[in-house]
């Protein structure tokens, strides 16, 4: 169960993921899967909880975005948001515990990007993260990653357990 606090659930994405869970995902790790006609690129992978583990995935994603003519601002925003989400999962979710992994499911269509990132941590409540844009919180060094994700993506939803996040970007939207 995911919630964003504002946007409603996207049913076709849910269905897509449900099908994925039943089929490819059970036997596919770190491999690019076969694509449906409407998809440009798709990948499922498992990352170890070590710093920098998401680098290749993110570089490949950015390359695919550019190949599909996403503009520089969109690529910059996706880069920032995905970087923050992956670092959060590895560092804050799994606490750099190498016995834990991060699962990533990524789908790219021509005008839409959808990514689910799940860690094995105990989760957190995004509503409890202080609003760093408030004057009294401006000098707090942490907590801006979530804000940047929300600003640069069309939708950010956290699982009710707080250890999963779905990022969605619709091309041409902030």
């Amino acid at each position: 169960m995911y919630h964003s606090g504002s946007a409603s659930a996207n049913s076709d994405v849910r269905l897509h993921l449900a099908v994925l869970n039943q089929t490819d995902r059970t036997h596919t790790n770190n491999t690019i899967m076969s694509l449906s006609d409407s998809e440009c690129w798709s990948v499922n992978l498992t990352l170890p909880s070590v710093r920098g583990a998401g680098k290749d995935f993110i570089n490949n994603l950015l390359e695919e975005l550019r190949r599909n003519a996403w503009n520089d601002h969109e690529v910059f925003g996706v880069h920032l948001a995905v970087e923050e989400a992956v670092v959060n999962a590895i560092k804050h979710g799994n606490c750099l515990d190498e016995s834990k992994q991060v699962q990533i499911c990524c789908r790219l269509w021509k005008d839409r990007l959808w990514i689910e990132i799940i860690d094995e941590g105990c989760g957190f409540n995004p509503d409890e993260v202080p609003d760093c844009t408030q004057i009294e919180n401006l000098e707090i060094p942490n907590g801006r990653g979530i804000m940047l994700m929300r600003s640069f993506m069309s939708k950010v939803e956290y699982s009710s357990a707080g250890n999963g996040v779905i990022l969605e970007k619709l091309r041409g939207q902030s």
Binding site: R51, G52, D72, H73, F76, H79, L80, E83, E84, V87, K91, C132, T133, I135, L138, E139, I140, P141, N142, G143, R144, G145, M147, L148, S151
Partner: protein
């Protein structure tokens, strides 16, 4: 002056001008090292009039913003001044979203920033 791996240091009068070696400031270990070098300028070398020139920077993460915020606190604790300049529009957007454009004194270019000290 100590050797720095993540920073390029120069002087303009009594102002220390800091440029960043990395175009993309996102690797966690590099950010850790970057923070240590910035803090060293203030705490060990007593350079408290600092201009950070972002000309070379194309990307930075929230962890890097955290280091800048901590640096700002250290500079203020030493009664110094910190200014930022040459920030690209997409990087400035990150500062604006997080409202850090209100915390930091950001100037268009190095000359403007030096004149404002």
């Amino acid at each position: 002056m100590a050797a720095f791996r993540r920073l390029a240091i120069s002087e303009a009068g009594d102002v220390t001008v800091v440029r960043f070696v990395d175009r993309k400031i996102l690797d966690e270990l590099n950010i850790q090292e970057l923070g240590q070098e910035l803090f060293q300028l203030v705490e060990q070398e007593n350079r408290v009039r600092l201009l950070l020139n972002f000309f070379n920077v194309e990307f930075l993460s929230s962890a890097a913003l955290g280091k800048l915020i901590t640096l700002d606190k250290k500079v203020k604790a030493h009664n110094g001044k910190l200014k930022l300049s040459n920030i690209r529009p997409e990087i400035y957007e990150v500062f604006a979203i997080t409202k850090l454009n209100k915390l930091f004194d950001i100037k268009e270019d190095e000359a403007d920033a030096l004149a404002a000290f």
